[in-house]
């Protein structure tokens, strides 16, 4: 049972990492960046090259992944999203889907179709927890997701930049009147989200390998995690991710593999019907 739970938590942690990225961009710019999962995918390939080709130590690999993620995030916002600001959220969403496809295609062309193990944190093995085997990398990824969610939540609530991004998401016009540069907020969000998600790749890659279609599967599950947890909440993204991961594992374990995805989407339906804003979704207050 412990093995199943730890596997569910680590898968959920990967979903949560992407969901946190979704949240950062959504909070600051009201854009749902469907391409966020591809940042993790690109990050795994950067980690692969960093380790296998250049022999960089893991701290430098993390930094390199973050830089590449930041640059791609900036390019996405400047070239694809900014031009559509104010022209309808559906246009922006569709554009991010296009960016996602572009990134997967680019990865296929650059690194090829074969999945490849990344060189960091391999062979960590398992430890015994209450008599059950638990993968060390599973624990590491879970810890990373918790740290990421906590850190981003604290920065958002306690820093001026975080509060400014919340303000611009709640009321863009009011934020502009208050002197907040909403364009820079949006750009910053894409950069930060891209950097943070990609930076986790040396850890995540040890479990998932570098493969060009990694992002495709994660994108939808991370969205489900965020919908369950609540848009706008980093704690919600984390808990939502864990719930999705655990439900997948427990569903497959006790009901059968065919129930794995069904159980997740049944929960999503229930949550959307009963709590439309998700478990921890932020309620917008109107002050007259």
């Amino acid at each position: 049972m412990i093995t199943t739970l730890s596997a569910g938590l680590s898968i959920g942690a990967i979903y949560a990492i992407v969901a946190i990225g979704y949240n950062i961009v959504f909070v600051a710019s009201k854009v749902f960046n469907f391409a966020q999962a591809q940042f993790l995918m690109i990050g795994t390939f950067i980690a692969l090259d960093a380790g296998a080709r250049y022999g960089l130590p893991i701290p430098l690999a993390i930094l390199l992944c973050a830089i590449v993620g930041a640059v791609i995030g900036a390019l996405e916002e400047i070239l694809a999203i900014r031009r559509l600001a104010g022209k309808g959220e559906h246009n922006e969403l569709v554009t991010t889907v296009g960016v996602s496809t572009l990134m997967a295609g680019a990865a296929l062309v650059i690194w090829g179709p074969e999945p490849i193990r990344t060189p960091y944190l391999t062979g960590l093995g398992q430890i015994q927890v209450f008599g059950s085997a638990v993968g060390v990398i599973d624990l590491a990824i879970t810890a990373i997701a918790i740290l990421l969610a906590s850190g981003v939540a604290v920065v958002t609530r306690r820093s001026m930049i975080g509060l400014a991004s919340l303000a611009s998401s709640e009321d863009r016009d009011a934020a502009m009147l208050r002197g907040i540069d909403v364009k820079r907020m949006a750009l910053g969000a894409f950069v930060v989200a891209g950097a943070l998600v990609a930076a986790t790749a040396p850890f995540v890659g040890a479990k998932t390998y570098a493969t060009y279609h990694l992002g495709d599967g994660l994108a939808v599950k991370a969205f489900v995690a965020l919908a369950i947890g609540g848009f706008g909440s980093y704690l919600g993204a984390l808990i939502g991710g864990f719930i999705v991961g655990l439900l997948e594992m427990l569903g497959a374990r006790f009901l059968g593999s065919e129930w794995q995805d069904i159980s997740v989407f049944v929960l999503l339906l229930i949550v959307l019907l009963v709590l439309p804003k998700g478990l921890f979704g932020r309620t917008k207050e109107r002050v007259v």
């Binding site: 093995t3 199943t4 074969e114 999945p115 193990r117 427990l250 374990r253 593999s257």
Partner: protein, 406 residues
């Protein structure tokens, strides 16, 4: 109001533009198709150089190139040189048929390599049959083996069911009566599961099955369910990363049961890329002998020539040896059939292929040590399960050859 003169001029201009556009080549990757029809044989190869099968396609192109060069250096077929034309269908069946139709309109090929995926092959075969064009390829869907529908099509593969039959023969030999199997839920995985399920049922072997989705990253839960059934052997199916995830999950739960990888793992995955040595404990994979150092053709001139050509082409050698040797074999088998028939007409070549007498001397084809690959009843390679597959310990692949760990 547009004058009559202007209108006629516009129509003439548009007509010329349309004519020039129609004359422009499709997306062919190499070769011109306007050589003298009587001077060369046209070898038309449809492959998927873009997309998920790009690496596999590249290997097959290299095998074809090696064969064309070797045959031409040896005087060609019946004194005529071979001309190789490669087109990239981008894994799109409608594109494959469009390119083929354009080729048929321009010059009918003498030999067609009909794609690297079953979807593509099944889209091309009706057109090839209507136009009486001989074809071969590696796609392995059983529908290709329909001599009535596709009398000129031959597969450079053994039938998929042989994998399961070989496994059952081994289980029976070792007295194993209870097994478990985990497969992908995609079309390939379910095809494998169906073959194995039928083979187990026919042999009276008790089997538990679990599936995983193509996007799954962790198969811990499925393996735990299978472990609860207490099997003697675990079968694992999975092409690419999923195969690695299954082995990784197996290691994590500390389940060192005897594990036999199916054809997709043995012949389709370089385990070094998707797993590590700790994941290979008690793991064997089913594999074609050509992919091992024990291949019978290792010392033949044909095999040495193939390898030398691949090195000269700068091949990455990152695929199983069969992907280089199947297309090589295809062209040499076709050569033998044309020379036996004394004709390159599809019907004559097909009949000769079904009744092939191996030329004297060392065989020029290398994948399987047979004098003849096909029969009138079977356009897939005629082999028994034990001839088609062997089990070896899991290990990394290097230069197309698996290196089993002890």
């Amino acid at each position: 109001m547009v004058s009559r003169k202007t209108r006629l001029g516009a129509i003439a201009t548009l007509s010329i533009a349309a004519l020039l556009t129609g004359c422009a080549a499709g997306s062919d990757a190499s070769g011109a198709d306007v050589a003298g029809a009587d001077e060369t044989y046209l070898i038309y190869a449809d492959v998927s150089l873009t997309g998920v099968l790009a690496a596999s396609s590249q290997a097959q192109v290299e095998g074809l190139t090696a064969a064309v060069e070797a045959i031409n250096a040896d005087g060609g077929v019946d004194g005529r040189q071979l001309e190789l034309k490669i087109v990239d269908d981008q894994l799109d069946a409608s594109k494959a048929t469009t390119l083929l139709q354009e080729q048929l309109d321009s010059r009918k090929p003498d030999f067609v390599y009909h794609g690297v995926s079953s979807n593509i092959a099944l889209a091309m075969l009706p057109l090839l049959t209507r136009n009486e064009v001989f074809s071969m390829g590696t796609p392995s869907n059983d529908k290709i083996n329909d001599q009535e529908a596709y009398p000129y099509a031959f597969a450079l593969q053994v039938q998929a069911s042989l994998d399961a039959e070989n496994a059952v023969q081994r289980l029976q030999k070792e007295g194993i009566t209870k097994v478990a199997m985990i497969t992908n839920s995609d079309a390939n995985g379910q095809n494998a599961a169906d073959n194995y399920k039928k083979a187990f049922e026919d042999a009276g072997i008790d089997a538990a099955f679990e599936i995983y989705a193509p996007a799954d990253l962790d198969m811990t839960a499925q393996l735990q369910r299978l472990r609860a059934t207490d099997p003697e052997v675990l079968f694992v199916e999975g092409y690419g990363a999923p195969g690695g995830y299954v082995l990784q999950s197996r290691t994590k739960i500390g389940w060192d049961i005897d594990t036999w990888g199916t054809n997709s793992i043995g012949n389709g995955v370089n385990l070094k890329l998707v797993s590590s040595e700790e994941d290979w404990v008690n793991v064997q994979t089913t594999i074609h002998p050509i992919n091992t150092a024990q291949r019978e053709s290792a010392d033949t001139e044909a095999f040495k020539t193939l390898i030398a050509s691949l090195d000269e082409q700068g091949s990455k050698f990152d695929q199983s040896m069969q992907l280089y040797s199947y297309p090589w074999d295809g062209l040499y088998l076709w050569k033998a059939a044309v020379e036996q028939a004394g004709s390159s007409e599809a019907a004559d070549v097909a009949e000769a292929m079904e009744n092939l007498k191996a030329p004297e001397g060392e065989r020029a084809w290398v994948t399987f040590p047979l004098d003849s690959y096909y029969s009138a009843e079977n356009h897939f390679i005629n082999l028994t399960p034990e001839e088609a597959f062997i089990y070896v310990n899991a290990g990394p692949m290097s230069r197309g050859t698996i290196e089993p760990v002890e």
